[in-house]
């Protein structure tokens, strides 16, 4: 019921997608080491127009690549060794599996093995939208967070999309930047921020005292809608926006659980393992005594992401299913 109404403001001007384009514009302007390499990103401006106009304004630094995700990342690694700050756009997060070897075997191990850092940013247009189907909808964050040597960002707001992408390029390590396609156009802000929380710090998106929802990316907005719905009945649900899943701000989650005693971890990715399992494992092992009820997880279903909106809307968690899960948790 809320899935088509994420947080928006009537007077808003800048979308989440425009924030990503603006960040890249600023990076290309300020830092001669930055270049962007991806499929259809130059004159065409990218499948989602995240690089619209940049190739013209920065000739030779925004380049179309062949359909070769492995080579795109491999190329970025070599350029990073030579002191550049490449940004790789994957057309869809799903296709990053074709570049998985270079990311997790090469980029992620380079600093540990050789002492030479590997500052590359890989932008993954992530998550589901209605009609996108099994190969244009996936949430890959857990696959990358699993490997040592990688930072995984999952911005949920226009402000974070902008400031975290700026920070991602400054970080001397491979950064997987999971930008959510559903938020591209739905989410708007009045202006680009000038200050930001550092990566690694979660944000309390909504304070509460009865239960904690720890979540990230588009699920922050579904969770906020859940909290608003339950507030009508007097429940105060705290929503934690993790912002990055690696590093994972366990301290902020534990502090929240110490106030609420109840935890629901929500993620859009597949249910086996993953970020929500990591959150529950950490709270269970480090904060078991804080819990008044067994911690819960809510994820997508354990099937490929379906195409039809009727199926897709149920496959991933929504405000409706989060409310249902939260009612069980509050009764537990």
């Amino acid at each position: 019921m809320f899935q088509n109404q994420p947080t928006t403001r009537a007077s808003a001007a800048i979308t989440y997608l425009e924030a990503i384009r603006a960040a890249q514009h600023k990076l290309l302007t300020d830092d001669p080491r930055v270049f962007i390499y991806g499929q259809d990103i130059a004159d065409f401006g990218g499948a989602f127009k995240a690089t619209k106009g940049l190739a013209k304004e920065f000739p030779g630094r925004v380049l179309d690549s062949p359909i070769s995700e492995d080579a795109q990342v491999g190329m970025a690694i070599g350029a990073a060794i030579e002191g550049m700050r490449p940004i790789i756009e994957m057309q869809f997060a799903d296709f990053s599996t074709c570049g998985y070897t270079q990311i997790v075997q090469h980029a992620a191990t380079l600093h540990w093995r050789t002492g030479v850092p590997c500052p590359i940013v890989i932008r993954l247009p992530s998550g589901g939208t209605a009609g996108a189907g099994p190969f244009h909808s996936q949430s890959m964050e857990a696959l990358y967070a699993h490997y040592p040597g990688i930072v995984v960002m999952t911005p949920a707001t226009v402000e974070d999309a902008y400031t975290m992408l700026l920070e991602a390029v400054e970080i001397d390590d491979p950064v997987i930047f999971c930008e959510h396609k559903y938020l591209y156009y739905h989410l708007k802000a009045d202006a680009l921020p000038t200050v930001a929380l550092p990566t690694g710090k979660a944000r309390v998106a909504r304070p509460g005292r009865d239960a904690t929802i720890a979540t990230y990316s588009a699920m922050v907005h579904e969770s906020l809608a859940c909290a608003a719905e339950l507030a009508k009945e007097g429940w105060e649900i705290e929503v934690i926006d993790l912002r990055s899943v690696k590093p994972l701000d366990t301290d902020t989650i534990l502090a929240s659980v110490s106030r609420t005693g109840r935890l629901l971890a929500v993620g859009e990715a597949f249910p086996w393992g993953g970020v929500t399992a990591e959150i529950v494992a950490r709270v269970a092992t480090e904060g078991f005594d804080l819990l008044d009820a067994p911690p819960m997880r809510l994820n997508a279903k354990d099937t490929p992401v379906p195409y039809h909106p009727n199926l897709w809307g149920t496959h991933r968690p929504t405000a409706t299913s989060i409310v249902a899960a939260m009612r069980r948790l509050l009764k537990a």
Binding site: D70, A71, M75, A79, T101, Q102, T114, G149, V151
Partner: protein
């Protein structure tokens, strides 16, 4: 007068060829002597992990290493000891990596052929074949963005790696970008144990160069003079801005995949065929036949190489090993983002 000048220039060219050949031979020999030592250290239980030798591929590898200059980029593969040394790796750093010395470039974190010194253009291979093709291309792309010219990047693969998607993607991308990349394919007849008939179906791998739109060169990898001539030409063409170059050398891996492998599957027919020759023997014959060196001089070079290897081994074996208690268990450079390790 003109004749005299012409003959002077012929002499100068001959001198240059001689000097270049002897230089290549020196690296071939040093590589062979070092690898024989590593093999015996492995058999003596002094080396943990694999030992993979370049026996039979020294002429090709040394030709590449000598064609590259300081400031170039080189991503060797597992049988490129000769090229690594020629590109400036010290015998000591090679031995340190095998023995796990904390003072070596990999500090015990990675071993044997995965070593490198990327800060000076000597990239450290990963085991996933073909992966270095695009990375060297990326290094070259960065140099070009910075306005550097006259740089060459090279990487070595075997015929097995040409079957990977990474190889294809990397070479195609380098060709699209017209980068000064030289890809050396050592067709050594076996990818671990897999024979060529199970690896590819084209008549000759060099045919593939045309498919990428790059010049392809075919050489007898057991013939040092052919290796020197062709590899140096390919590198010179890349340096001159003629885009990627692909060299395919036919030769035979004269040892098992690694020292753990007894190579009982080696074909006797290949062993006695022309590509079964040992390029070091061929080099000795060519050098002495040309009157560029005597056997005594070549033997003296071997003694010198052996002394260098012994000294490096004697040093590295006394060096401190990695210590798990003082090891910095942090995989990322940006320490404030480190997650810490759970108990």
């Amino acid at each position: 007068m003109l004749q005299a000048r012409a003959s002077q220039s012929v002499n100068a060219e001959a001198d240059e060829n001689k000097e270049r050949y002897i230089g290549v031979y020196r690296w071939m020999l040093l590589s062979r002597v070092l690898e024989e030592k590593l093999s015996s250290l492995y058999r003596g239980g002094k080396i943990t992990g694999g030992v993979f030798l370049g026996r039979g591929q020294e002429a090709l590898s040394a030709s590449l290493g000598t064609a590259l200059r300081k400031g170039d980029i080189f991503a060797p593969l597992i049988r490129d000891m000769a090229g690594r040394l020629a590109f400036g790796e010290t015998v000591l750093n090679a031995v340190r990596t095998y023995l796990g010395s904390r003072l070596g470039p990999m500090r015990g974190r990675d071993g044997n052929i995965h070593r490198g010194e990327p800060a000076r253009g000597y990239y450290a291979m990963i085991s996933h074949l073909g992966a270095m093709v695009s990375s060297v291309a990326g290094g070259l792309f960065a140099r070009r963005l910075r306005g550097e010219t006259g740089v060459v990047g090279a990487t070595c693969v075997g015929e097995g790696a040409t079957s990977t998607g990474s190889f294809h993607e990397g070479l195609n991308m380098a060709a699209v970008e017209k980068l000064p990349l030289v890809v050396i394919v050592a067709n050594n007849q076996y990818a671990y144990s897999t024979v060529n008939a199970r690896q590819y179906a084209c008549a000759d791998l060099v045919q593939r160069a045309a498919g990428y739109g790059v010049p392809g060169y075919k050489i007898d990898g057991t013939d040092p003079s052919a290796c020197i001539e062709v590899v140096h030409e390919a590198v010179a063409r890349a340096r001159a801005g003629e885009g990627p170059q692909m060299v395919v050398a036919d030769l035979l891996r004269l040892v098992g995949h690694g020292e753990h492998d007894d190579f009982n599957y080696m074909s006797h027919a290949l062993k006695v065929s022309p590509i079964g020759r040992d390029s070091l023997d061929v080099a000795r014959d060519q050098l002495t036949a040309a009157g560029w060196a005597t056997l005594a001089q070549l033997d003296a070079m071997r003694d010198q190489a052996a002394a260098e290897v012994e000294e490096a081994c004697g040093t590295a074996i006394r060096e401190p090993l990695p210590d798990p208690n003082t090891e910095d268990w942090c995989a990322i450079h940006t320490r404030r983002l480190a997650e810490g390790n759970q108990l």
